[in-house]
Amino acid sequence: MALLIVLIVALVVLVGTGIGLVASRRHRTAVLEPPPTAPRVPPEVIEEVRAEREAAEEAELTEVPAVEELEREEVEAVIAEAEAAVAEAAPVEEIVKPRFRDRLTKARTALAGAFGAIGGRKIDDETWDDLEEALIRADVGVAATQELLDHLRGRVKAEGISDGEALLDALKSELKQRLAGYDRDLHLSLEAGPTVWLFVGVNGVGKTTTIGKLGARESRDGLKVVMAAGDTFRAAAAEQLGMWAERAGAELVRGSEGGDPSAVIFDAVEAASARGADLVLADTAGRLHTKVNLMDELRKVRRVADKGAGTVTEVLLVLDATTGQNGLVQAQQFTEAVELTGVVLTKLDGSAKGGIVVAIHAQLGIPVKLVGLGEGADDLVPFDPDEFVEALFA
């Protein structure tokens, strides 16, 4: 083990310095002779500093989650109760469902027929190949596809399924089963102070637009909404969010371009609290999950958003439906960093089907909560697993 670690360090140093190594060789020999002697800081000092830092870190670590855990449980219990009551009173989804279908059908007719063939056929090798093709073309992924089809083979044997129609139905039910039983609601905090929903994701997926749409919806539902321009990096990101805030009748809190995003979001939460707002929608700059510094920055944003008057109840990964297998890696890395509560699947109005969310549910247990179906303010609907599965094969 020690050898391995020593080796990795040595190799990365070599690879990392790569080309630069020789280019500045002359200067280096001049600087480096004679060989280095002592370390710059005595070991006791280093040890002391380290102990201090570790103590500080530990304090921070143990402090935060303990409180959070309690709060969340309480909040969730109360919300669950309230929801049970609401659920009895009125089915809310009715208005939305047809839209999902309408919008999708519009997209699907463009490429319909690709899958009509299976229908009345007997099940043979070709049928299985067609199913595999359909799943992979929907970005479900090789591993998830194989797993699904293996299950399906078992069912065919056990249930004596013999024609294509029934097989397709069985596959759909397998998929629906894997998407069933998740809490897809967006939760409000019952604490004093505003609720914070944080939006994260890679570049260009639709974070800002989703906030715009959601802000419009929540304002319409009577909440007082503040939008926090936490993307301080991208050119004109705050202006973009500002235009959405205007449309939605929400308030915008922004910082300086290039400023610290956690500070902006903290300020927004404080401002929201001072003005008695209910909900803070916090935008963040797009970042690839592979960038260590940027993921650290995001961790800090997440921590700070919870520190002041507000409570973070949702951390939503915005995912573009055109994304392929990388979507699963994104979800994994983002949830490791900031503990996602859900996914927003955008751009499902296109011809891409977003099949990667099947694996995100199955492997990571993170549900899709919202779906983006266009660039307009009303183009955001709750995720409906059944519609989604039907659309995978449309």
Binding site: V22, Q240, T322
Partner: protein, 505 residues
Amino acid sequence: MFEALSDRFEGVLGRLRGKGRLTEADVDEALREIRLALLEADVNFGVVKGFVARVRERCLGEELSKALNPGQQVVKIVNEELTATLGGETIRITYSAKPPTVVLMAGLQGSGKTTNSAKLARWFKSQGRHPLLVGADLQRPAAVEQLRTLGRQIEVPVFSEATDPVQVAANGIAEARKSGRDVVIVDTAGRLAIDAELMDEVRRISEAVDPDYTFLVIDAMTGQDAVSTAEAFHQTLALDGVILTKLDGDARGGAALSVKEVVGRPIAFASTGEKLRDFDLFHPDRLAGRILGMGDVLTLIEKAEEVFEKEEAEEAAARLMEGRFTFDDFLDQMQQLKKMGPLSGILGMMPGVPKEVRNAEIDDREIARIEAMIRSMTPAERVDPDLIDQSRRVRIARGSGTEPTQVGELVKQFKEVSKMMKRMGGMGSKRLAKSRRKAAKAKGKGKGPGGRTAGGRVAPKGKAPLRLPDLGAGGLGAPGGVPKLGKGGLPDLRDLGLGDDLPGR
């Protein structure tokens, strides 16, 4: 997460290697794995089919007779075919005899059109041209403002007006003529390939400006749908090339292959970051290796760039190769390395790492233990580990809460690695020097404005970008289908006899 192709091949190739020639069944078995790897890399289903058929034909054709190591040959053919498909004809930008030369940017929402319009403008500037950016995205909130901000960063003028996209584009050309700009780059709104209305709009923009070059901007993370997008845009606009963006992530980038197959036009540029200088001509061979999942040196190096102090790392590397690496150097570098994320992740990105090693669980406590041991050494001991005798071992062990044998082990292994690195240093430096000079020349100069300006996003002071070692041509010639660096690069870890040192294996 994704099983690299090289892992899969260990099984298949192991069996093939012993044989004198490839049977049809052998080839098919190997190709099944290739097929899965390509699909996992997001290459379109239909494209994979065609590609695998082509490789199969080649495998069973002429090459076979000369095959000495058949398994190796399959991988080589795959890699060659992949590189050829991705590469082929390269784009050469020529300038219109009747200026301005017009470039039209099109693509899906969020793919990177605006950013890459600016990157392209910066590139044209570096070629001695005088570009004008035209903001014809009147749809997305603040899109023009975004372009204006980027334009300011690279000191390129931006034209736009609140009319309609077709008219803005047309007036942009007139504006360029009037103000003597010789290149015009037209940024358009993102649109879905199935949105008939908007596709018609972009067609009208194209008719109005009659572009010399039309680029499809496409995200490297795109999945299966890349094909329909590329088809639709190609049909509407007759593309001249593709700009592949967000290559700085860890997506395998199979979409590039799909798009290339469909459009048949070159992938002209690669966008590898949010900063405006992260933009370069496209290298098909690098992407080929990446699609096949053969280690990701690029990402590794990018990560290293983010966290390592260049000067210090260089000095450490030099000492390493000269056999003068000390425990202090080690400690320093390990601190930097830790910022790159878990060591096991880093290991996964290194090519030539055998599966057992790559999958080894690296225990963070072990790292902490090593650190503690080194911190318990005196300055003199850190520079000269030979000083460490039994009584010193006991003292160090006591200071770090370890056992004297563990200290002894660490010292021994540290010395072994140092020796090994010194050997490598001796043998590789010449060739490395050559490839570096070449790379440096090809890369050209030019630092520019733009890029993340704060919020911890800019590289700390004193950090210049590190450069990439030449990965050597073909790459896949090594046994087991693992690409090797040039002699001066990474050693093949297989030769190091690591087997005994692996936990639980």
